[in-house]
Amino acid sequence: MLEHLCECYSDLSGPIPCPVLGSITPLFIPNSRIRPIRLIGLCASLITFLYPPVPRIQFDPSTAKSQFVESLRWLPYENIHLYIGIDGLSLFFVILTTFLIPICISVGWSGMRSYGKEYITASLIREFLMIAVSCMLDPLLFYVLPESVPIPMLIIIGVWGSRQRKIKAAYQFFLYTSLGSVFMLLAIPLILLQTGTTDSQILLTTEFSERRQIFLWIASFASFAVKVPMVPVHIWLPEAHVEAPTAGSVILAGIPSKLGTHGFLRFSIPMFPEATLRSTPFIYTPSAIAIIYTPSTTSRQIDLKKIIAYSPVAHMNLVTIGMSSSNIQGIGGSIPPMSSHGLVPPALFLCVGVLYDRHKTRLARYYGGSVSTMPNLPTISFSSTLANMSSPGTSSFIGEFPISVGAFQRNSLVATLAALGMILGAAYSLWLYNRVVSGNFKPDFLHKFSDPNGREVSIFLPFLVGLVRMGVHPKVFPDCMHTSVSNLVQHGKFH
């Protein structure tokens, strides 16, 4: 019996269909009975959350190959199969996704009064797509699935957003992401043309000619750069964050922005190594600009959520710097920030969400001295703020330090600029924190106060535990991903 259970657990067939089932079931329950629908959604996401730790235990860190591989014949005459599997790079994305969805559902527990059923369905479908994206080993599907992730996101922003501007934000979000992926769509037939398959294992061993590599690299870069987002095409992210409901921001900060960096890691770097090496300046320059540019823009914002919304741009650009450093510190260091980044901005967005629920405003000038009325929230937001400016002992530091080490070895100027972002980041994070939390209390604007209640605190706790756990004992990351990363570096013949 137990063996049978283990067998069931040992592959990925669990976490992928589970959210699908969870999203279909509510369709048969009438809209009026919202409570069981929510419960079903929460249970489905929790069960999905319990799956990935099992592959984590059984995960063999000593090999760089994908594990728990399964294939599905899809278009046999075109030699296109569905391959899913996990390796050291994608394991953490799966865990992060399954961790964030139950939180989203419980954030929207009482907030989502209208269209409660649809909210649950949209969240679970999104979870399914995200897990599938992380596990996919096939470039074609890696085009199809990331393009479908924005659809539930669009619905969430458009339906449950707070203001009229949400329509514009949703459009922008959708159009930007699909603009980038047009080029990716061009690249895939080209790959098929040469290799006749989209199996990534075969693709990894294929040698593309240099000219073609550069073309393919640019095509994939255009797609991924929008998703990261890099600087000239970043505007959709703050806009979408501000207009999305709290739960939407949590998931938006947590996952879709990882699609771009994940794509770099999985496709651009291993498949087109020469092109990656030659195009390093094209990544370094916009990333370094973003690291200086976004904190400066942030300092002018007055909307609490927008201030936080810009910070992911700076952080993800640090990750791209690490990735294109093409050494083991840089690439290895760029993975922990991605998962830490799934915790830090969501925690901050939740803090803003708590304030917004109470006072129905997000303008910084109305807040002040909230520590005297709600002592617990500042404690929580202070921890997250520290993590946001990558103070040691929190999860962000674990990645950003190796990234700086890696970048410095490649190009010390870029490392200097990245470190300069550290000062600016501290300045705007602290300023935000100080404006909201300390100083004089403003009774003219705010009347009613209450500290986070039990449900909210229990939502925050996993974030805080995760932040400190990753910051204090980060050994689990290098243990799991070391082989994959060094394989990546060796494959690229970077040394």
């Binding site: 400066s296 510190q329 617990n376 040691p392 939390v437 100083g439 050994k475 990351f477």
Partner: protein
């Protein structure tokens, strides 16, 4: 014996348990935790005392036969890159840890009483213990990455503690300013670490020194790059130890409670920068430029700190600038390579300054019931005076601390300061002039503080004059206390005319006794007590213990036996690093030479002291009747010049050398302008392009709508037009070869 070394890792973790348990208690069972609040002090003091015992044991062992102990365990591992945690026990560590723990225990005892009526009593102790933890962790670090981690934690503690009374906007701005300024230092430190890692491939101190020195000697690395990395590391120390360009946070940091100022802004945290430089001295010593740079900055800081301290009205700010100046002395000593003198002064200064700060805390405590609880009033020396009568014990201890800091012989600071002065004289007479001059300034401003506080009569009635016209109460500015944006010269002059008599008492008349009685009765109605009162025994005990330290700690650096060189305890303590000791350490062999050297510095100090006494002392009232002084002072042309000089110095000092204003105007405004620019770019150009594309596409759609008018002739025309273009393209140009290449591989 080995056991002490094996279990030395426990030292930083001992205070941490208090922080953790108070934190969990406050979150999980707040009521019960708050009910037993005074009891929490015992474990925190007890655990820190254990840490003190540990470090005392380590120090004794280091003195008797010192060796270096190191233990490492890995934190994260890659094949190429490993981060390790470990601890390193060597003389420097033992000195620092005994310093931190002794001062820490005293201040914990003191703050039990000082903070007893504060709402955040428990929070205070949690923060205190955490800052002790991070400081002890810093000094026991064995590699640069660990230094960096604890460095930031120390900065965070300082942020929390400066902003302890966060409901005051000034405190909130001050802590932000401290953190951001320290971040500038961290930026340098991080880059320096990265650069050194790039050069040497190691972060471990001993490997790093070995490899780096080899490389430098064999020209394996360009000296320019090595100097750059070293100076970047030094930037970290500059920010933390409040050296010249980045000192602006220290005086503002006095917004925190006084025990904090005593612990982290006088004795321990600001010593972190000194510690870093001392730790990296084996690296720096091979790069002559950086050593000169360190000593130069040290000299500048010595002078600036002393001059800024001259006209401060806030007792704690005055002491803060004095700290800055004394840290400059230590930096100078490190820069000229006299490692021993630097550490010696670090120890003696820490005890003396902690004593002074605790004394000022006691004064503030006694003033608060009379003048009110705002730091604008209770720390204002203008409102003090004549406290000798009311707080005799505090006064004695404060006097001893003052004398020690001035460098008056039997007290601690004399021995160390004299050593620094001697060494700097031997190093270069040009460098030595400013430190010698500053001795006089130190004596002057310290005695000014002492006299304004304890001498004369209580001047509470100035309260009505002291302006609280600042409008800071509703805004938190980006950069500390907002400096006046429009620098109104007339305003400044007018305030100067009002306030100049705090600087010297030319227009100051003797206070009538009746007057003071009148004012006291007036305030007696308003407040509970009429006169300042001496603090409780719990607060006096640490003061007395620190007095003992101030009296006797100098003896560790004195060689009693003239025959044996390096017989004194400090030299024995530092023996494993003999190459770091200054080569001409035989200066103290001859008592006679020592005496002649010191008589010069002491006479300068006494001169400064005398001037302060003339300007501020109550004895001046006797002199006023003498024609001699009057004619000297009132010679009309001289007097004007004198006044002018005085007002220039006063303005320079009161406005902190205009450095804060400069920073506000240039840096803060510059960054603000940059952010406006980027915001404009973001809003109007990047978003504008998107909107423009949307608008164009809808316009095109509008245009095309007219084209599809339903006329078959126009459709046909377009059709043939495109076909002909396509045919032409194929006929004459052919297919672009590059496109073929891309698609055919």
């Amino acid at each position: 014996m080995e056991h002490t070394y094996q279990y030395a890792w426990i030292i930083p973790f001992l205070p941490l348990t208090v922080t953790m348990s108070i934190g969990f208690g406050l979150i999980l069972i707040p009521k019960a935790t708050k009910n037993i609040r005074r009891i929490w002090v015992f474990p925190s003091i007890f655990l820190l005392s254990i840490a003190m015992g540990f470090s005392a044991n380590l120090s004794i062992q280091q003195i008797n036969g010192s060796f270096i102990y190191q233990y490492l365990w890995s934190w994260t591992i890659d094949i190429d890159f490993s981060l390790e945690f470990g601890y390193l026990i060597d003389p420097l560590t033992s000195i620092m840890s005994i310093l931190i723990t002794t001062v820490g225990v005293m201040i914990l005892i003191y703050s039990d009483n000082y903070m007893s009526h504060d709402q955040g009593y428990l929070r205070f102790f949690a923060y205190m213990s955490f800052s002790n933890t991070s400081m002890l962790g810093l000094v026991t670090s064995s590699n640069l990455i660990q230094i960096h981690i604890f460095w930031e934690l120390v900065g965070m503690c300082s942020y929390l503690l400066i902003g302890f009374w966060f409901t005051r906007p000034i405190a909130a701005s001050a802590c932000q300013k401290a953190f951001v300024t320290n971040r500038v230092g961290d930026f340098g430190l991080l880059l320096g670490i990265l650069g050194l890692y790039w050069i040497t491939g190691s972060l471990e101190f001993r490997d790093l020194f070995e490899i780096a020195n080899n490389l430098i000697h064999n020209n394996g690395v360009s000296s320019l790059f090595a100097t750059l990395c070293a100076s970047l590391l030094f930037v970290g120390a500059v920010a933390k130890s409040a050296q010249f360009p980045l000192h602006v946070w220290l005086p503002d940091a006095m917004e925190g409670p006084t025990p904090i100022s005593a612990l982290i802004h006088a004795a321990t945290m600001v010593a972190a920068g000194i510690f870093l430089v001392a730790r990296l001295i084996p690296l720096f010593i091979d790069i002559p430029y950086i050593m000169n740079f360190i000593s130069l900055l040290g000299v500048i800081t010595v002078l600036l700190g002393a001059t800024f301290s001259l006209a401060q009205r806030d007792i704690k700010r005055s002491l803060a600038y004095s700290t800055m100046s004394q840290l400059g002395y230590i930096m100078l000593a490190l820069g000229i390579g006299s490692y021993r003198a630097a550490l010696f002064h670090l120890i003696t200064h820490a005890y003396s300054k902690a004593l002074l700060f605790l004394g000022s805390g006691s004064i503030i405590h006694s003033m608060e019931p009379i003048v009110g609880y705002s730091p604008e009033k209770s720390q204002n020396m203008v409102l003090m005076g004549g406290l000798t009568r009311y707080v005799p014990i505090t006064r004695t201890t404060f006097l001893l601390g003052t004398l020690s800091l001035c460098g008056i012989p039997p007290l601690a600071c004399f021995w160390s300061k004299d050593e620094i002065l001697n060494d700097s004289w031997l190093y270069s007479p040009i460098f030595a002039i400013i430190p010698y001059f500053t001795i006089g300034l130190t004596a002057f401003y310290m005695f000014r503080v002492y006299l304004l506080t304890f001498d004369g009569y209580l001047r509470v009635y100035f309260q009505n004059h002291s302006s609280t016209k600042n409008n800071l109460f509703y805004s938190i500015s980006l950069w500390g206390k907002e400096a006046p944006k429009t620098f109104n010269k007339n305003l400044l002059l007018s305030t100067m005319n009002n306030k100049v008599y705090f600087f010297s008492k030319d227009t100051y008349k003797i206070i009538d006794n009746d007057k003071i009685r009148y004012f006291s009765t007036y305030f007696g109605n308003k407040y509970t007590s009429t006169y300042p009162h001496e603090s409780d025994n719990t607060m006096l005990f640490p003061l007395l213990v620190l007095v003992l330290f101030t009296l006797f700690v100098g003896s560790i650096g004195i060689s009693f036996d003239q025959e044996v060189m390096d017989f004194d305890i400090l030299s024995k303590w530092l023996t494993p690093s003999p190459n770091l000791l200054h080569p001409n350490s035989n200066y103290s062999v001859n008592w006679y030479e020592f005496f002649t050297n010191s008589i010069f510095s002491v006479s300068i100090a006494i001169f400064g002291l005398f001037i302060a006494y003339i300007l501020y002392g109550s004895v001046y009232s006797f002199f006023q009747n003498l024609d001699l002084i009057n004619s000297f002072v009132k010679g009309s042309p001289k007097r004007i010049i004198l006044d002018q000089i005085k007002s220039v110095i006063y303005n320079w000092s009161y406005n902190r050398g205009y450095i804060d204003i400069f920073y506000t105007r240039v840096l803060v405004m510059g960054i603000r302008r940059l952010t406006e620019l980027t915001q404009f770019f973001d809003r109007h150009i990047i978003d504008g392009i998107t909107n423009g594309v949307g608008l164009t596409s809808s316009l095109i759609g509008e245009g095309i709508r007219y084209m599809g008018g339903g006329r078959i002739s126009s459709y046909l025309f377009l059709y043939f037009f495109y076909v002909s273009i396509f045919l032409l393209f194929f006929l004459f140009i052919g297919i672009n070869p590059i496109i073929i290449q891309v698609f055919m591989g």
